[in-house]
Amino acid sequence: MLTYAIRRLILSIPTLLFISFIVFMLLQLAPGDPMAQVPLTVPPEVKEKMREALGVGEPALVQYWKWLVQVGWIEPKVFIDWLTRDTFLFGWLPDTKLYNGELRVISWQTRSPVMDIIIQRIPQTLWVVGIAYIVAIIVALPIGIYSAYKQYSTFDQAGTFVTMIGFSVPPFFTGPLLIVIFSVSLGWFPSIYDTTLVVDSWANFKLQLQQMIMPVMVLAFQITAQLSRYMRASMLDNLNQDYVRTARAKGLSENVVVWVHVLRNSMIPVVTVIALGIPSIFGGAIITENVFKVNGIGQLLITALFANDLPMVMTLTFIFAVLIVMFNLIADILYGVLDPRIRYD
């Protein structure tokens, strides 16, 4: 298993290089101009000078190489410095001071290091999307299990109906709908997420809960729909297997049959689906974040796309690529751990 993991890790390096190169070239080919949002009153010569100052005119391969060095070599140095300087975990180590002023990946919109902005945005995304994911898992699994066990019952039919709605109604509809109901009419929750709120008292914690409820509900609704369908299908597969009949025949109680035998076997594909979905937490939920003004990673990506801020888009997509590759590996390994029949060596 260990050699397998190491082999996969090494193999992921060329994969990621290839992904980054393709993404970079696609972005180069895409139409658009970082100066598009500058007002028309700024003349073209001035815009050209601004582009030069950003380094837009350089040959594509030179730009790619510079970006690669910045992301692969300079940013890790900054990160290690930060770890040994400011964190509790590694703060006891001597300050490494590896970084000495080289040019980092600079956003074209803000002229500041891309990584600093990403670090600033991650907490919002993790709070909202992460909690939505956890809520969805907690809700979806029991629904899936029960609907499969009582297939075609009223509960199953109702569950199918609700999940179909969850699948088919997009968040740009449910989001504003919730805002109209709970913010405009009832006035219970704020329609705009306050990213400056620091949770340091019970009152602020309550405010944080209030502002998180709506985005979490919208997201959890969607994820629940997907997960509960997976859970139901996987349970149904197993409930009709011979070993279930055997278990019942030898006199095991229904509780033991369902919760121990069937559930454990049904969880194998569901766990992989959950693991594979984790990168999407970091990717944020572009639409939901925008609707509720949760300024997280998804909102960052979409504004960067609109502004043609290539270093930002490039770095974000690359981070997503890394996460997806990593979690694919984790899912594969988990699969082996959960199912003894699968051996990688």
Partner: protein
């Protein structure tokens, strides 16, 4: 922690002095929402409205425009003019006298050296300064003493109020930005996010593309202002959401630039928590007529380069096209109270605005008669008129935007009624306005017969904007398709008159020439004005002191804002 202390301080100040009306920081917090989020607080590096306006609360120019479009002294004693001796007789020099005793928010004195530094910062060849045009024609900036700034121009400049005037040209602190000249500008994150200014507020925390928190400037020149102790400046979302947040839920106090359908605004106003306010600058929605031939069969060096257009140069055609348009209906459908009928290329200031007969009424029959009279008739019976055998078939393009697509549909219908054939196209705004010379879809390339967009100018003097009609400003392959003369309008008389304008200092005479130039373009088939667009913003009923200013930053008088007790 810092923020919390400040908030506590603000809360304490609020609790102790509720009765004192005119006292700094007595009114607690004001919350502003811009649906485009500020990315940087240095307007010299961005040029985006969101960045210029958010920064205008912190850094300020020497003089700025008020809501009437008049210059008002800001960091100086008076606005220099020829009459008061501040501008030299030959119009080549302007002398600013800085108000005595001004300090930056860090307590250090504000001097002429800072002003001179700002000039050097923006004009550095490697800096990529977005406001370079403000310093066009400046040959030197001198500082005879700490409070005097002398700006010398290369030639006579009738309008010397470019440098250091208006929200786009504020003064940076020399001490803070000393190491940020030229190529280093981009690496000065700390400076660009937390500029030290003379304005009513200072940055507490800046989260790019998200939120800015500010606190009252302890060293602000008026000890009684600003009334608010803190500001939360949220960015992002949509115009719809920010309108809701101010007028329906009351979460925010001020929402910027609500480009929404009139019925949507009316619905929000019913929420009763706030009200919309409109102001009119020189923003004009117009249809540009291509004076060159956009035939797709022409090669890349000829398409939209060679003159003339097969039929759009014919006075009967472009006049009939203009007559067929029902401008009041367009205003009603697209802009409501944020629009007026547009009749002039320069719709504001009023003194520069021309008009033409029949601008406000639609006359489909008259348009048909005019085409008939000119012999442009449908000779082959396909329902489309021909001019010299070429059918009046046009491609009408614009950027993707709900209002623009509504306009396209209406105007297409009217033009088809007078016997034209119209094909519609819409292009994503980032491509259309992107200026990428390699793309066939930019508005500069104009690979269509007519196109619709809006343009405006900064400040109150339209000279540079009127220059957009000069022959040599036409985009073409030699200029990498850059240039402001989008319709490729070209007329000797126009060029000559514009040269005269740039030599004229007398205001009344400038206005007369301006009106004439503006009328020349509309009368000779350069463009069809449609709607004079205003700016619509909204403020909470409990927010007082708001004066919507379209000539400068909308937040120009934020120091005077206060809370109305309700």
């Amino acid at each position: 922690m810092k923020l919390k202390t400040l908030m506590l301080g603000a809360a304490a100040a609020f609790a102790i002095a509720p009765a004192a009306f005119a006292e700094r920081g007595s009114d607690g917090e004001v919350k502003i929402i811009y649906w485009q989020a500020p990315s940087i607080l240095n307007p010299f590096l961005s040029g985006g409205t969101k960045d210029v306006e958010s920064a205008s609360m912190i850094i300020e120019p020497l003089a700025r425009y008020n809501e009437m479009g008049e210059l008002v002294p800001w960091l100086v004693d008076e606005v220099p003019t020829v009459a008061n001796g501040g501008v030299s007789e030959d119009l080549t020099q302007i002398t600013w006298k800085i108000t005595e005793g001004l300090t930056w928010s860090d307590g250090t004195p504000f001097t002429s050296a800072d002003v001179k530094f700002t000039y050097e910062y923006c004009t550095h060849p490697e800096g990529g300064c977005a406001q370079l045009t403000k310093f066009e024609g400046v040959s030197s900036v001198e500082t005879p003493d700490d409070l005097t700034v002398v700006v010398t121009f290369e030639g006579p400049t009738p309008n010397p109020y470019g440098p250091f005037v208006g929200g786009e040209s504020p003064i940076l602190q020399a001490a803070q930005f000393a190491d940020c000249l030229g190529a280093a500008a981009s690496t000065c994150t700390e400076q660009n996010f937390n500029p030290i200014g003379t304005g009513p507020f200072v940055v507490t925390e800046f989260k790019p593309n998200d939120v800015i928190t500010m606190a009252a400037n302890e060293n602000y020149r008026d000890p009684a202002k600003p009334a608010f102790a803190t500001v939360t400046f949220k960015g992002g979302g949509s115009a719809q959401a920010s309108g809701t947040a101010v007028m329906e839920t009351g979460e925010f106090d001020y929402a910027w630039n609500l480009q929404l359908a009139p019925d949507v605004i009316a619905k929000m106003e019913e929420g009763g928590k706030g009200k919309p306010i409109a102001g009119f600058g020189p923003l004009l929605e117009r249809i540009m007529l291509n004076n060159t031939n956009p035939d797709p069969n022409l090669g890349p060096d000829e398409r939209s380069v060679i003159r003339p257009h097969p039929f759009l140069g014919e006075p009967a055609v472009y006049k009939a096209m203009s007559m067929a348009i029902d401008r009041p209906l367009l205003v009603e459908i697209g802009y409501g109270q944020a629009g007026k009928v547009g009749c002039s290329w320069v719709p504001a200031p009023e003194a520069f605005a021309s008009t033409f007969e029949g601008c406000e009424v639609q006359d489909l029959e008259g348009a048909k008669a005019m085409l008939d009279e000119a012999g442009i008739v449908d000779s082959d019976g396909d329902g489309v008129r021909e001019h010299n055998g070429v059918p009046l078939s046009i491609v009408y393009q614009t950027s993707t935007n709900a209002v623009r697509q509504d306009f396209q549909a209406l105007i297409k219908d009217w033009w088809e009624q007078i016997g034209m054939e119209v094909e519609l196209r819409n292009i994503d705004a980032s491509v259309f306005f992107g200026g990428d010379a390699g793309s066939p879809d930019t508005f500069q390339k104009f690979y269509a017969d007519v196109e619709m967009y809006a343009n405006t100018f900064n400040g109150t003097d339209p000279q540079a904007y009127l220059g957009n009609g000069l022959c040599d400003k036409a985009p073409r392959p030699e200029t990498q398709w850059q240039g402001e003369n989008i319709s490729r309008f070209c007329m000797e008389e126009f060029d000559a008159l514009h040269a005269e304008l740039s030599q004229t200092a007398d205001m009344a005479e400038r206005q007369r020439i301006g009106r004439e130039l503006s009328a020349m373009i509309t009368d000779n088939g350069g463009m069809i004005p449609l709607v004079h667009r205003g700016r619509l913003s909204a403020h909470a009923n409990s927010l007082g002191g708001v004066v919507l200013n379209v000539w400068d930053s909308e937040l120009w008088n934020v120091a005077d804002w206060y809370r109305i007790d309700m």
